[in-house]
C-alpha cells in the first residue's frame, strides 16, 4: 500500500519532470507548425490516396526520418560526453556501399537485376557503417583521443572513402526493390518513418528496461567514478559509437534509396551538424549526463519542419540557411534558463 503510493508519486514526479524537459522543444514545434499552417493553409490536411496517407505533415515526417535516426545515435554518444561528427560521411559511405553492391546499369531488366541480393547489400552497407563506428569508438577509448578530433578523422576521410567506392561518380540505382526503403509505404505510412520510429522505440526500451539508461547517465556525469564502481564504461562507449555509426548507415540507405542514387559528395552533407543541433534543441546537455531521446526526436522534427516551411513559403533557397540560423538562435535562447531569468528579472522589479 505504502510502496504503491510511493511508486505512483515517483512516477508522477518523473512524468512531470520529463514533460517539463520537453516543454520548450514541443512548444517550438507547435509554433513552427502554426506558422506553417499560416503560410500554407493546407499544411495539416491529410488524405488517403492509393492505400496510404498523404499530406504535407506526412512529407515532413518522412523527410525527417534520416535525421531522427542519426539524432538518436548522436544523443547516446553525447550523453556519455562524446561526439560523432563523422555521421554525415558515414551516410555517404553506407549509400555508396549499398549502391555498389546492387550495381546495375540502364537497360531492359535493370529494374529487377541486382549484383547481390538486397539483403546482402543492406547488410554490407550497415556492416561497413558499424565498422566506421567501431573505428571512432576505438580511437576515443583505446587511443584516448578527444571525441571531436577522433571523429573528425573519419569525417574528412569518409567522404574520400565514399568517392573511392563510387569511383568519383554518382552511382545510379535501377533496382526497383531497393526504392522501397526510402519511398515505400507500410500500413499506410512511409516505411522510412516506421524504421526511424521503431529504432527510437527500441532504444527507449533498452534505456528503460535494462540498466543501460543508468549506466549512460552515470558515465556522462562522472566517467571516473563510474569506472571505479565497476561499470564497463569503455565497452559501453565503444558500443554506443558503433550504434551511432549504424544509425548513420540506416540513414544512408534511406537517403540513397529515396533519390535512387549514391552521391559521395552530397549524401548526408552537414548532417552531423543538424544532428548535433537536433540533440541540443531537444534539451540534451552537450556536456553529457542529462539527455532526452524524445527531445532529440522533437529537435529533428523542428529542423525538418523549418526547412520545409522555408521552402514552401517561397523564401529564396540562398536565404534558407540564414533564416534557419536565426530561428535556431531564437529557440536556443528561449531554452536557456539564464536568458529566461534575464527576461524575467525586470518584470519582477516593476
Amino acid at each position: 500500500m505504502k510502496s504503491a503510493r510511493l511508486k505512483s508519486a515517483a512516477s508522477t514526479l518523473t512524468q512531470w519532470g520529463a514533460a517539463h524537459q520537453l516543454f520548450w522543444p514541443l512548444l517550438t514545434l507547435a509554433l513552427l507548425l502554426l506558422v506553417s499552417v499560416l503560410v500554407q493553409p493546407g499544411f495539416l490536411r491529410l488524405s488517403w490516396v492509393g492505400g496510404h496517407l498523404q499530406g504535407n505533415l506526412i512529407d515532413v515526417l518522412n523527410r525527417a526520418a534520416p535525421l531522427m535516426l542519426v539524432s538518436t545515435g548522436m544523443t547516446l554518444v553525447i550523453a556519455i560526453r562524446g561526439l560523432d561528427i563523422s555521421v554525415g560521411a558515414v551516410v555517404a559511405i553506407s549509400a555508396a556501399v549499398a549502391a555498389l553492391l546492387i550495381g546495375g546499369s540502364v537497360g531492359a531488366g535493370a529494374e529487377q537485376a541486382s549484383r547481390f541480393p538486397l539483403g546482402v547489400a543492406i547488410a554490407g552497407a550497415l556492416g561497413i557503417a558499424a565498422i566506421c563506428g567501431l573505428w571512432n569508438g576505438l580511437l576515443v577509448v583505446k587511443a584516448g583521443m578527444q571525441p571531436i578530433v577522433a571523429t573528425l578523422i573519419l569525417m574528412v576521410a569518409g567522404r574520400g572513402i565514399a568517392q573511392l567506392i563510387t569511383d568519383g561518380q554518382i552511382l545510379t540505382v535501377y533496382y526497383a526493390p531497393y526504392f522501397f526503403i526510402g519511398n515505400g509505404y507500410f500500413a499506410g505510412l512511409p516505411f522510412a518513418l516506421i524504421v526511424a520510429v521503431l529504432v527510437a522505440l527500441a532504444v527507449h526500451l533498452v534505456l528503460t528496461r535494462t540498466a543501460m539508461g543508468l549506466f549512460v547517465r552515470s558515465i556522462g556525469i562522472n566517467p571516473v567514478a563510474s569506472h571505479v564502481a565497476g561499470v564497463r564504461s569503455r565497452l559501453i562507449t565503444v558500443c554506443l559509437y558503433v550504434f551511432c555509426g549504424l544509425t548513420a548507415g540506416v540513414a544512408g540507405l534511406i537517403i540513397s534509396s529515396n533519390v535512387k542514387s549514391a552521391d559521395a559528395n552530397n549524401a548526408g552533407q552537414l548532417m552531423e551538424l543538424d544532428a548535433i543541433l537536433a540533440v541540443a534543441l531537444g534539451g540534451t546537455a552537450l556536456t553529457g549526463g542529462r539527455f532526452s531521446l524524445a527531445g532529440s526526436i522533437v529537435g529533428a522534427l523542428i529542423l525538418q519542419t523549418l526547412t520545409s516551411m522555408i521552402y514552401s513559403s517561397g523564401v529564396p533557397p540562398e536565404v534558407n540557411l540564414v533564416v534557419k540560423a536565426v530561428l535556431v538562435f531564437a529557440v536556443m535562447l528561449l531554452q536557456s534558463p539564464e536568458f529566461r531569468r534575464m527576461v524575467k528579472r525586470p518584470h519582477a522589479h516593476s
Binding site: 510502496s3 510511493l6 540498466a211 556525469i221 565497476g230
Partner: protein, 507 residues
C-alpha cells in the same frame, strides 16, 4: 661552524591568513650557504604557503624576508628568480617539445650582435647549456628534445635552469615524488655538488629517509606554527615525527574493540597479494586479508597506501606479482574484474572517483550491484527502492528522500551512501581509503562502528587512514608502509608509538 652570519635567506615572523584559515603564524626560516635545509610538516602545516611567500606568489600579512642581509619583497615568481630565489616544482614544468638547451634558456636566449645578423645565438645557447649541465656532472646531448629523457633527467634540467640564473637559493618542492630509488641517488649527487658550490637549498619532501640522507638541518612546521629548527644529526626520527605530529604518542592504546579469537583461528585468507608492485608507485609487496579481519594500512602521505589499494582493485595495472583470491590466481584488469571477484573500494577522492553527484541516492546505491550483474536483469524500481531504503535506515543516512541527488547530501552522508553502494554487493574484501576524511566527528564514529560490525560479520576489510590513532584503534593487524614499500606488520593494539617507530626505522 655555521652561524647566522652565513645566512643567505632569512624569514622572520611570517604570518599569513586566508579566509577562515590562519595558514602561517609567526614562522621563521633561515637558509645558510652550502647547506641543504629540509622543511618538514604534515599536510596543512603551512609548508607550501611558506614557499609561495618566499617565491612571491603570496605576500605575507606580517614579517620580513632578507636575502644577503637586504630586505626583499618578491611580488612574482619571476621577480623572486631575478632576486636569486629559484624553485623546482614537483611536476616538471618545462616544455617537453623543446630541446634541453632551449628549455634551459627559454625566455633569456643570448642574442647575436647586429653585425652578425642578430637573432638568437644558437651556438652560444647549446655551448652554454652544455657547460651548465656539466657543472652538475650531467653529460647529455643538449640538442635533443627534453621528452627524449626520463623524468629524473628532466628534473635535473629543471635544476640546471634554476641554477643557471645565478641563483643564491634553490627551493625543491617534492622533487623526488616521481623518481625511483636510483634516480633519487643521481639527484642527490647533484644536490651535493650544488651544496659544495655554496648554494643554499631548501628541500621539501615526505620521505624521511631522504631527509636523513642529504639534509644538514631542518625546520619543522605544525598547523602553521614554527616548531623548531634542528640539526639533522641531533634529531632522532622519533623526535622528528613527534615534532611533526605534535603529540606525545601514547604508549598504551585504548583498543576497545576486540575480535573473536575463535574466528581468527579459522579464518583463511580471502585475498592474497604476492610481490604485487608497479614501478614508481609501489615496490613489490606481500599482503593477505582474512575474512572477519580489519587490516589497517598505516604510513605517511606518499608512502604508497592509496597506490597499493589501486593495484589491488585493478585501477592501476601491476607490472609484477600475483593476486590470489580463495587459492585461485586472478588477473584484475579493471575495477569491473575486481568487483566480480568480490572486491569493493571506497576511494580516497569521494567526489571525483566515488559518487555520481547528479544521480539520486537510490541510483548511487544500486550502481555497483547493477554494474556487476550487467545490463540485464535490471533491478526493478521497487527492488531498487527497497534496497536503497534498507541501507538508508541501516546506516542512518540523513536524506530528504532516496530520490535526492547525492551531491546535495553532507560529506558524512555521502560517505555512507558510498559505503552502502559497496555493501549492496556483499563484498569479500572491502577496501576503504580514508573513509573518514573530511567528515564530522559523529559521522566518523558511526562509520568506524559500522566498519567494525562488518568485519565481525565476516567481511575482510582493508582500512587506510592518515590518522594513525584511528588505524591502530580499529585494526586487527597493521601493515606499515614507508617509501612505497611495506615496512612491516604489527599486531592490533600495538599503539601508535610502535607504528611511528617502524616508519622511522631506517630501511
Amino acid at each position: 661552524m655555521s652561524g647566522p652570519e652565513q645566512a643567505v635567506l632569512r624569514a622572520e615572523g611570517i604570518s599569513r591568513a586566508f579566509p577562515g584559515v590562519r595558514a602561517l603564524d609567526d614562522v621563521r626560516l633561515c637558509l645558510r650557504a652550502g647547506e641543504i635545509h629540509a622543511l618538514m610538516g604534515q599536510n596543512g602545516a603551512g609548508k607550501s604557503t611558506l614557499i609561495k611567500i618566499l617565491t612571491g606568489v603570496h605576500a605575507p600579512d606580517a614579517g620580513l624576508i632578507e636575502l644577503d642581509g637586504q630586505r626583499i619583497e618578491p611580488v612574482s615568481t619571476l621577480h623572486a628568480q631575478q632576486l636569486g630565489i629559484s624553485t623546482v616544482y614537483q611536476e616538471v614544468n618545462l616544455c617537453p617539445n623543446l630541446t634541453v638547451a632551449e628549455n634551459i634558456f627559454a625566455g633569456r636566449y643570448p642574442r647575436r650582435p647586429w653585425w652578425r645578423g642578430g637573432g638568437i645565438d644558437w651556438a652560444a645557447v647549446n655551448l652554454e647549456a652544455k657547460r651548465v649541465l656539466s657543472s652538475l656532472h650531467l653529460e647529455i646531448d643538449v640538442t635533443r628534445l627534453l621528452s627524449a629523457y626520463p623524468v629524473a633527467i628532466q628534473q635535473m634540467v629543471a635544476i640546471a635552469r634554476a641554477t643557471s640564473v645565478s641563483a643564491r637559493v634553490l627551493i625543491l618542492d617534492e622533487p623526488t615524488s616521481s623518481l625511483d630509488a636510483d634516480e633519487v641517488k643521481e639527484l642527490f649527487a647533484v644536490l651535493d655538488r650544488l651544496r659544495g658550490q655554496g648554494m643554499a637549498i631548501l628541500f621539501i619532501t615526505h620521505f624521511l629517509d631522504q631527509v636523513y640522507a642529504v639534509c644538514d638541518r631542518m625546520t619543522v612546521l605544525r598547523n602553521g606554527c614554527f616548531v623548531g629548527e634542528y640539526l639533522t644529526r641531533e634529531l632522532s626520527r622519533e623526535a622528528l615525527i613527534k615534532a611533526m605530529v605534535g603529540r606525545e604518542i601514547a604508549v598504551a592504546s585504548e583498543r576497545t574493540l576486540t575480535r573473536d579469537p575463535a574466528a581468527e583461528a579459522n579464518a583463511a585468507p580471502v585475498l592474497q597479494a604476492k610481490a604485487l608492485g608497479r614501478r614508481g608507485k609501489v615496490q613489490p609487496t606481500d599482503i593477505a586479508f582474512k575474512a572477519g579481519e580489519i587490516v589497517g594500512i598505516a604510513g605517511l602521505l606518499g608512502s604508497g597506501r592509496t597506490e597499493l589499494a589501486r593495484l589491488l582493485f585493478g585501477l592501476d595495472s601491476p607490472d609484477g606479482g600475483d593476486i590470489v583470491v580463495n587459492t585461485e590466481r586472478v588477473s584484475l584488469k579493471s575495477p569491473a574484474d575486481a568487483v566480480n571477484q568480490g572486491l569493493a573500494l571506497c576511494p580516497e577522492e569521494r567526489k571525483t572517483e566515488g559518487l555520481i553527484a547528479d544521480l539520486s541516492v537510490r541510483e548511487n546505491i544500486v550502481l555497483a550491484l547493477q554494474a556487476r550483474s550487467g545490463l540485464v536483469p535490471y533491478l526493478s524500481l521497487i527492488e531498487q527502492q527497497a534496497l536503497a531504503q534498507r541501507f538508508v535506515s541501516a546506516l542512518g543516512i540523513k536524506t530528504a528522500d532516496i530520490e535526492t541527488p547525492v551531491g546535495q547530501l553532507s560529506g558524512g552522508n555521502q560517505q555512507k551512501v558510498l559505503l552502502a553502494r559497496w555493501l549492496a554487493t556483499e563484498p569479500r574484501l572491502l577496501i576503504l581509503d580514508e573513509p573518514t576524511r573530511g567528515i564530522d566527528v559523529a559521522a566518523k564514529q558511526e562509520i568506524m562502528n559500522e566498519i567494525v560490525a562488518l568485519a565481525r560479520g565476516g567481511m575482510a576489510v582493508m582500512f587506510i587512514s592518515a590518522e594513525m590513532e584511528e588505524v591502530v584503534r580499529v585494526a586487527d593487524r597493521v601493515v606499515v608502509m614507508r617509501d612505497r614499500c611495506k615496512a612491516g606488520e604489527l599486531p592490533g593494539g600495538c599503539g601508535e608509538h610502535a607504528v611511528y617507530e617502524l616508519i622511522a626505522r631506517h630501511g
